[in-house]
Symmetry: T
Subunit: 69 residues, 12 copies
């Protein structure tokens, strides 16, 4: 069977800088243990507040990667 | 990189007693193999029926835990 | 044709005790007129308030049962 | 104009015991400052985990009350 | 009763710079009148267009804060 | 900071006449205590039944208004 | 058991006049065979077009009624 | 009153062959007891697995039919 | 190939009178440039407020029309 | 600017044979007037019924294509 | 504790033939590493287009399997 | 008839830099062929991954513009 199958896992990345950095942090982390990551989908953006401003961005994504044949 | 990343997995816990017990059963089971579980989110509540009443509660949750650095 | 077909009906059960009791009340009631109920799915949980606390749980479920051949 | 208008506010109640207790705690708290609460709708059930089991139920509800004429 | 209750309010922050700035503007504004803000959830991102490019980011968030005991 | 922030509140207006009247009743009521209402979004339309026909329209809306600088 | 149970059925009412009339037509029709209808919820509004304008409103509602003890 | 009213019922059809066959099986079954079925809407596709492959398709549909005048 | 294909476009119609008029205005406008419009689906109802009451209804619809063979 | 932009249009394809054929019919039709179609997303599956079985599959898809630079 | 717990994973299966084949391909692939798969739920159907027709079906499913005691 | 009608089209903008840049790229592109663009709504944020980090942001938006009288 040569039709590829992909798996999607759900991660929450965090950053004190930006939404983009939180997403990238999660993907960098996932790449330590998963190969062939191809795409991500942002599912939720939330965060914590401290001293009356945004303290941390928490971005939940799904990450898709190809399963090895 | 010190910004933590979390992973979320999806489980369906069951119980003949209550919704709360079904959730707790799933978390106890997950704790056998995953450390640092922090939170859960209830996604679906359903169940089976036998002899005209509720037989088993089936509660699907997402469980979030911190990935090791 | 031997592939079974199921019908789903929507009920709102009520109870002054708990969510579980409201679900069970609806299933017991449905069992008076429908046979072969197999499963339920919780669709909405709401309720009424009296004297500053929860008075009645109102839980809407879908109930699935097999149609007779 | 005699047609009543209702306002809905969103609260997250907590409890270490049950979903029902978390809802009731939020309604009791809201009743300290709002009169004529009539109904609630459960919007989200989540919670925290400690030592491998459920530690706290966190239930978000909308609470509806009648605005004074 | 010592279980905390949280209230969530819905705000739309705006900025000509970025999504992050629009969120932060709303939280800074809310902090003028609400204490103990703990978290936010992004619900909608939209904006206005002028002269063929983005003019203003309009980001709707829910902001959660603890009610005083 | 001159970027405006808006707040959205949720109301259920009622009318025995029409959906439009129920929405307008809620906005007129809100205008008694809130200034600078700019827009509304219809979230739910429901109602009560009496004597086999519609008795009352109940329309839930979100109302957006600008927070004072 | 004295806790009431309600059943919800789904109907699509039609009218060439208005959304309200389409809803009311469905409720009047349902009242021919169902007693104790208490409430309705609008689920979808659509319609047909003829000669470049709205020809018929088609409004899908859920209708709730109390099951006899 | 000549504006037609339609009723929608929810069924889950099954088949070991295909999604289309599962839908058709449900409609054929419904036609045994309901006349004037006009349309269907697919709401959910799921199924059971046996011996490492799809065993049965379970397709939930809503079926609309005209109520008799 | 004789199986018809339909295209759906999304429009926001406006009216100071009613939801129905806003929908109809959008369909009349679309009919200036598109032939064979068959149906519409209401997707969102919102509006602007002026002087403490509804000023303009803004109704977003999808409009379906048959593509020419 | 060399970052590509894509447009998505919404089509309803039909077939008396299968869901797949309905999708393919819509894409073949779209390809008559749009170049560089890259992907599609299935949004809704419904159909008409005649003589107690499925008569026509109606599948609504979004079709994405690259805009010319 | 004898109440079973299930885990759900998310996969995207692909096929140039049909939706059913794409689902089955994902399940066959998952069965290489997971035992006791019991059910699946279709979450999304999309695909790629080449030369003006469907080239590949991409079907995202959730797959449920029982965790070992 | 002087009530304005708006059309909404769906675009996916891309950028290797940020979500904001992807949105802006789509709007700049749309402005080449459409006049009177007034607003946009973000519908989906996803992207591709290369070498273990985010490679391209893909942001789907709806763009609203006024139809000419």
């Amino acid at each position: 069977m040569s039709d590829p199958t992909y798996k999607k896992i759900e991660l929450t990345g965090t950053s004190e800088e930006s939404i983009e950095a939180a997403v990238n942090n999660a993907i960098v982390k996932a790449s330590e243990s998963v190969r062939k990551i191809r795409w991500f989908e942002v599912k939720e953006v939330r965060g914590s507040v401290a001293e009356g401003k945004v303290h941390q961005w928490q971005v939940t994504i799904k990450v898709g990667f190809r399963l090895e044949d």
